[in-house]
């Protein structure tokens, strides 16, 4: 379980996240909603141990997130695809497999290249790939070490149909395996279809936290409007 306690994040004088308390239990899929600048990406970066809270603590099993053992359990898809253009698909996955100490890396990599439809072009440089292929390689990179915690920042934005289907399928599988998933998005319907819980951030504060009920799923836009200030 990830526990966020009294977390603040400042950029200079600006508080991007304010006094946030949040628990993400194992097996939960949390849809993190909010307008641009609400603090969603800042929170996700702190959950991925890419950024430290200015105040408060974020722990996983009572240990710091920066512990190597904890980072090994986290997989993230952020705004960038985080692959190297001058490495082949195979070399990209080999590199990340060695950083994560993936057991039986050769077999795992072959399997992921097959799953993402990149086995045929495994020896081609990533820079020669189409956008969709690069996105699928990024998905393979994020899932390669079988993370127990998935942090997804606008995961469906700019994905082609094949990558969207692949990602949805992998998220579904991760849920079945009891992974904790946090999805930050503006796409309410896609997020609600997957979520078991919802959190809404507004100007860095948590304004709503609760289960994603059928009522919420049936009318996500109305639900979202009810819990956010009217747009300026």
């Amino acid at each position: 379980m990830i526990s966020v306690q009294g977390v603040w994040k400042f950029f200079g004088d600006f508080a991007a996240v304010r006094d946030l308390d949040l628990e993400i239990p194992r097996g939960a899929t949390l849809a993190l909603l909010g307008r641009n600048g609400a603090g969603k990406t800042t929170l996700l970066r702190m959950l991925a141990a890419l950024s430290s809270p200015s105040r408060g603590t974020i722990t996983m099993g009572a240990q710091s997130l920066r512990q190597a053992a904890n980072r090994r359990r986290i997989g993230m898809i952020g705004h960038g695809i985080a692959i190297y253009d001058d490495l082949t698909a195979q070399e990209n996955l080999e590199f990340f497999a060695s950083l994560y100490g993936v057991p039986e890396a050769g077999r795992q990599i072959a399997q992921w290249l097959e799953t993402t439809g990149l086995a045929r072009v495994r020896r081609s440089l990533a820079r020669e790939f189409s956008r969709g292929m690069r996105q699928r390689l990024a998905i393979a990179r994020a899932f390669l070490h079988q993370p127990e915690i998935l942090l997804l920042d606008e995961p469906f934005t700019a994905l082609d149909d094949r990558a969207t289907a692949l990602l949805s399928e992998l998220i579904e599988k991760a849920r079945e395996q009891n992974a904790s998933i946090v999805i930050s998005t503006h796409q309410l319907r896609e997020a609600m279809a997957l979520a078991t819980e919802v959190a809404i951030l507004e100007r860095g504060r948590l304004t709503f936290r609760g289960p994603c009920t059928d009522q919420v799923r049936s009318a996500p836009e109305q639900f979202y409007r009810r819990h956010t200030e009217p747009a300026a």
Binding site: R66, A68, H79, E91, G101, R141
Partner: protein, 225 residues
């Protein structure tokens, strides 16, 4: 063990990318050759005084060309936000730093060894008189320079004027290592005995050790915002 494995994986990855893209190779080699050529017009290659300052000339070229290499070290990771994936991985910050410093050192040593014969021809300097010592000085001097440069490459990675900021930050701190390397290189080139200069070897070793340990311990704070 995992620390070392991660560092080696990062070094291998950086060298492989550079071998393919030649992003820095072309610029750094051309720059080093042009500066060596320009200096050879300025000074009289046969002069005794030129030989006396040959170490300084050479390390000036290496450090300027080195900044071009170091500028790309972490900037290379920004293209697809790969730095996030690297920092979020279980690899400790120290291992990321060590891997990058290793790759930079290997690359710079390659540049130094490739341009050394050119320097010998342009300046009429016998560089092969004491090759073992010369290699030791190159390795120690280059490691000291790249350790500082790699840390500041991480510090300036998101700075808009990083090409300007990096040399401004790196050169003042590397002065002791560069002074030692210059002194020792000149001694080797002029064929003088190295025994009286052992203090400079000690300075280089101490500089390398202290800054490697400091950088490996502190770089985590630089990488995690």
């Amino acid at each position: 063990m995992e620390y070392l494995r991660a560092a080696l994986a990062i070094a291998r990855k950086d060298l492989r990318i550079e071998r393919r893209s030649k992003e820095v190779t072309n610029a750094a080699f051309s720059f080093a050759l042009v500066v060596l050529l320009l200096f050879s017009f300025t000074f009289d290659p046969s002069g005794e005084e030129t030989r006396a300052m040959s170490g300084g000339l050479l390390w000036l070229v290496y450090s300027f060309a080195g900044v071009l290499v170091l500028n790309r070290s972490f900037a290379r990771e920004t293209a697809n936000d790969s730095l996030d994936a690297l920092v979020a991985s279980p690899a400790p910050g120290g291992a990321i730093f060590l891997g990058k410093a290793l790759a930079n050192t290997v690359f710079l040593l390659g540049l130094e060894l490739a341009t050394l014969p050119v320097f010998g021809v342009f300046y009429n300097v016998r560089w092969d008189l004491n090759l073992g010592w010369l290699l030791l000085v190159f390795v120690l001097g280059t490691w000291g320079f790249t350790v500082i440069g790699t840390v500041f490459s991480a510090v300036t990675v998101n700075v808009r004027l990083r090409e300007v900021m990096l040399p401004v930050l790196v050169f003042p701190i590397t002065v002791p290592a560069l002074m030692a390397a210059v002194q020792l290189t000149t001694t080797v080139f002029t064929g003088q005995p190295l025994a009286p200069e052992m203090v400079w070897i000690r300075v280089l070793v101490a500089f390398d050790l202290i800054f490697t340990l400091l950088a490996a311990a502190l770089v985590e704070f630089v990488l995690v915002g």
